[in-house]
Structure formats: C-alpha cells, structure tokens
Symmetry: C2
Subunit: 357 residues, 2 copies
C-alpha cells in the first residue's frame, strides 16, 4: 500500500511515491508553472501523479491516496484561502484535483505536512506533542497535539512565524511589525546583515574595537571624521567584516544566509552579530511556544537548519532564558530529520493517516 506525496512550492513541485512506512520508492520534481495560473498547476500535479500511477502496474493498484503540501492555508476540503507566493486567494485546489483523479486527495499547509513526516517517520516518531519550525525565506510551522495535526478552528493557526516578539526596523509581508519571521528567517538574516554592513559603520567599529580590546578607552581613538559614511564604510569593511565583504566582493546581491552562517562560524564579527540576533528572537519564539504549548519536542527545519548543531547548540543555550519555569526545562530542541524530502514524505503520511481514520 503506497501513497503519493506532493510538495507544491512557488518555484518547484516535488512529488514522490512513498510506502506505508514512509520510504520513498521514486521521486521527481518539475518547475512550478511560472505564471502561477491555477489550471497549469493542477495539470502539473495531475501529470506527476499519473507518472507514478503509470510506471508500474502493481503501483497503480496500490496507491491509496495523495497528500499535497501547499505554501499557504486551506480548509479540510482543500480550499486554499491564501497562498501569497502563488498569488492564490480562495482557490478550490481540492475540488479541481478531485475532478482529475479517482484517488482521495488531501491538502494541507506545507510545514504541517513536514511535521507529520517527522512525527510519523523521523525524529519525532512516537511523540504526541511537537512543533516544527521551518526557517527559510519565511518561517512556517506545523503543530501536532495529542498525536493529531492542529491548525486551529478556522485553519489559520500554527503560524508561529507571525508571532510578534519585538519591534523591528522593517514590516513583515503580512503588514505587521515584529513578526518572528522578520527576525529569524533567512530573509531577515540577510536584511539585518545588509543593514549592519551599510548603515551602522561608526557604532559597529566602536563596538568591534571594544570587543577586541576589552578596553573602553579605545573608542576614543576613532578618527574624528568617522561620521563620513564613505570613511566609516571603508573602515568597516577593513576592520569589522572583511570576511563577508571578501566573500561577496562587496556585491550585496551575493549575500545569503549560508554565507553569513559560514562567516559566523569562522568568527566574523558582523556575521556573529547577525546570527546572534536571529538566535535571540528565535529563542524568544521557542520559549513562548514552550510556555504556551509545552511540547515534548521542537524541531528546526528549513534552509537555516543546515547550520546544524552550530544553530541547535546556540538555541539550547538561549531558549532556557525565556522559559518561565526554569527548573522544568524539558522540551527537546532538535534538527529536522527528513531534509528536502520532508514535504513528499509528510504529504504521503498525511494521506495515510487521513485514510486510516
């Protein structure tokens, strides 16, 4: 008995056929039809599904259901209320797909699919209460409560990325200020690093010199013309952030989260300052989740999670500062286990769980 899992992203549609115990039998991916038109996406999903159904006669019989993760929110029937990166509002994806196929189709948020995958087949196997946070371009999340997906009364919950955790220098795409996503996503990390590199020259130089020397008198040694942005920018690139500047060859377009983490690991001052800020607010977000939901496990996924134990170790140090009852610091913080296959496996496992109800 097999299931098809589909991970519908804004740039790529990944699809796979997965066994009942969560093993990928075959997988593929295509570019998402670029104009985002609903019909073209439906046709692409149908084509991918047909491929798995047609490659092997045994398989045709054995596919019991399809689970599709979407980058947005939807109801149980697969009416997609909102998927900003696909430019979708109120798209009846479930109905459209059901007209194309006779196999049961289940649609859910992509981070929710990922947490189902982790809970059924990976790091959270056997765990009844867990939360997955995917740190990518944005921040997604999925919540499992008492063994079941929890998405709220109107299907718009589990949006931990929009928890307000402070005040920020730019607004979130949702229109609010202070969303976790604007502090701890890959986008946020890049934006803050850019800000540090471009407009904070003087104070950053002082801070760096102080941190290097441990001597507060050294800040007086700064040149008197350091308020000139060119001079301070030059000084900055020379003294504070040679590694980032060198790696991107002063081309901000080349700045990305991986590069910033790599520079932080090598001790770069600016990169560390940016990573520390990401971690500080992420630890507030995780602390809040622990104070509210007290899960057994918090799972970190998405592109930023590729920083690995370097990130997890920082979180394990920082999160306890935000837990209200410090003597009961029991929630495990771990890296997601399924990597790029989380959407495919999670989608398939979601279909499996729905059909076994």
């Amino acid at each position: 008995m097999n299931f098809i899992g589909i991970d519908l992203g804004a740039t790529e549609i990944k699809a796979g056929i997965v066994s009942k115990d969560g093993k990928i039998i075959d997988k593929t991916a295509i570019h998402t039809p670029i104009d985002g038109a609903v019909g073209a996406v439906v046709d692409s999903i149908d084509m991918l599904t047909a491929r798995f159904l047609k490659t092997d006669n045994d398989t045709i019989q054995s596919v019991k259901g399809i689970g599709i993760g979407i980058p947005g929110v939807c109801n149980d029937e697969g009416l997609v209320y909102y998927a900003p990166n696909l430019f979708w509002n109120n798209v009846p994806l479930g109905d459209l797909l059901r007209k194309k196929t006779n196999i049961p189709v289940f649609i859910e948020n992509d981070a929710t699919m990922a947490v189902v995958g982790e809970a059924k087949c990976s790091v959270a196997k056997g765990i009844s209460n867990c939360v997955l946070i995917t740190l990518g371009t944005g921040i997604g999340s999925g919540i499992i409560i008492n063994g079941d997906v929890y998405k709220g009364n109107h299907g718009i919950g589990a949006e931990i990325g929009h928890m307000i955790v402070g005040e920020n220098f730019y607004n979130c795409n949702c229109g609010n200020n202070g969303c976790l996503e604007t502090f701890s996503s890959a986008t946020a990390l890049v934006k803050y690093t850019e800000k540090l590199l471009s407009d904070s020259g003087n104070s950053l130089i002082s801070e760096k010199l102080l941190s290097d020397s441990g001597n507060s008198s050294i800040s007086r040694k700064l040149p008197s013309n350091s308020s000139n942005s060119f001079v301070s920018g030059k000084l900055l690139s020379d003294s504070c952030s040679s590694l980032i500047s060198e790696k991107i060859d002063n081309d901000m377009e080349r700045l990305d989260a991986k590069l910033i983490f790599d520079c932080a690991k090598k001790g770069d001052f600016v990169a560390n300052k940016a990573v520390d800020r990401l971690v500080k607010y992420l630890a507030i977000g995780i602390g809040n989740i622990i104070n509210i939901l007290d899960p057994e496990m918090v799972i970190i996924g998405g592109g930023i999670s590729k920083a690995g134990d370097y990130l997890i170790d920082k979180l394990k140090k920082e999160v306890p500062k935000n837990i209200w009852l410090k003597s009961m610091n029991f929630t495990e913080i771990v890296l997601a286990g399924l990597g790029n296959d989380a959407g495919i496996i999670g989608g398939a496992m979601y279909a499996e769980s729905k059909l076994s109800l």
Copy 2:
C-alpha cells in the same frame, strides 16, 4: 449527582457544591491558613469538603468528586510542582487529600479550572477550542483544545502570561523580561502608572500639551526650568493627571487598577496612557494566540475584566492589528461569564468531566 469545586487562592479558599449542570447549590469561603503550611491547607480543604458532605444526608450520597484549582502547576495526580504565592514546591496535594477522603479528587491550575467552567456552563458552552486569560495580580490562562483541557506535555503549558511580547522596564517574577504579565496584569498597570506619575514629568507634560493643542510648536512654551523634578511633578499633577492624583490624594499606596480604569473612562490623560499600553501588549498576546492556536473564542476574566465592554471594545479594535491574515479575523473576544464563581464551578465541572471519561 453533585460535585465539590474548590478554588485555592493565596488569601482565600472558596468552596461550593455544584450540580451536574453547573449550578451552585451552596458555597462558602475561608481565609487560607496564613503561614501557607501544607498540612493546614489540607485540613482546611478537608473541613470545607466535610461541611458539604454533612449538611444534608442526600448530599453525602450524591457528591461524586472534588475538583481543586490551585494557583500553580501540577501533574494529573495532583503533585503541585510550583505554586509561588503559596510558597509550594513539589507538594503532593492530591495524595494528602486522598488520605483524608474517599471521594475522587482532581487537581488542576486555577485558570484551567476557570476555562472548564466557561466551556461547560457559560460563555464558551459548546465551543471546542478556546483560551481564557485571567488578568489579575498576575496573568493566568487556560486552554481547551478539541474539547479537552490542554496543559502541555509536562503540565507547564498554558502560561500565556509568560509569553514574551516586548521589552519592559522591570523584570517578571519568573526572572525573565518582557512577559505579558509585566505589561497587562493589574500589577503591571499600577507599576506603569506609578512610573508615569513619578518619573516622566517633562516628556509627559509636552505630550499632554501637544495632544490637547494638536500644535507641535506648543512644546516650546514649556518653562525653561521644567527639568527640575519638583516643578515638573507639580505641573504634572496640575495639568496631566489631576484626577488620579486627586483620587489617591498623592498616596501611591492607594493606586489600584480599578481606580486607573475609572480615571481612564473619565478621560484622564495619564490613566488613558497606562490603559492603552496594557491594551497594546494584551492585543499582541491575544494576536499571537490567534496566529498560533486560532481558537474560536478568547475569554477575558480576572479583576481587570471588570472594566467590562470598555476593555473588550478596545481589544476588538487593537487585536486585529496583530493577526497575520486580516481577512480571517474570526476569533471572538468576550468577557468571562462566571465571575468570582468561576473557580468553584470550573473545579466541580472538571471533576465531573474526569469522572465521565
């Protein structure tokens, strides 16, 4: 078939005998034994219970269980991990009481008991997903998910008062900075009002004059010696906050949340500034709860809820600003319905629900 509900507070133990449908048949209250010794509290609860069992022969037979709400956190067996206002750590209250009585005893957090009461017999009747926030000396909360109490994997969840929502000028009792409790409890309201009255004279006077005149040039008219704290304090009490100062007769000890809300309702500038800050952060907290849990209803209880629709109207205006998907602003925000009896009724209904499992 009846149940006993007990609300164990730091100053008072309230107890009542409650019918299966949530009606109080009889109730009473005694002072909590002042030294907080566990044995004395257990004896008091036993005495209150005995009173209901002995007053009426029919009643003895019909009491099926006792539910006790505690100002702290505990496990399902009634081991109280932590109840700061009772100075309790790891007190086996459940075991101690079970030695005294043959009737089943169930122990839970007091705000959790209150949300059970609201969900079984009051404003949240028939609602499967709701959150109650009690705004008192601190901030408590209770969560119902899919019709059941949710308190997390280790029993320390549902502590919405310790959600970090910003940076504050004083730390929370839990040791952290920025907990919702330090912005939106009665204690927080009083502390912030005291701060406004005592140390913000100059800026507050400018702000008040600007707000009165709508003319930014007016701030230049402030006396040049307004940095003198006596002068500014005098000016403040004359021009900015005559109502609060008058009501408390300049005695800060007399400042309380009710008085501040009353002064705000009458248009007092300082009181409004303090209430607006309480509402701003409470709306962030509620918005976060909606973005994470998307409940059908958020219920506001506790002493501050006596501000009534004045508070609810402000929240209904402010909360939507913090919801990520503004087109789906569906969560109802309502006042708690059970008032001072919430603990008794909730405790009894919790026992009823546990016994009918």
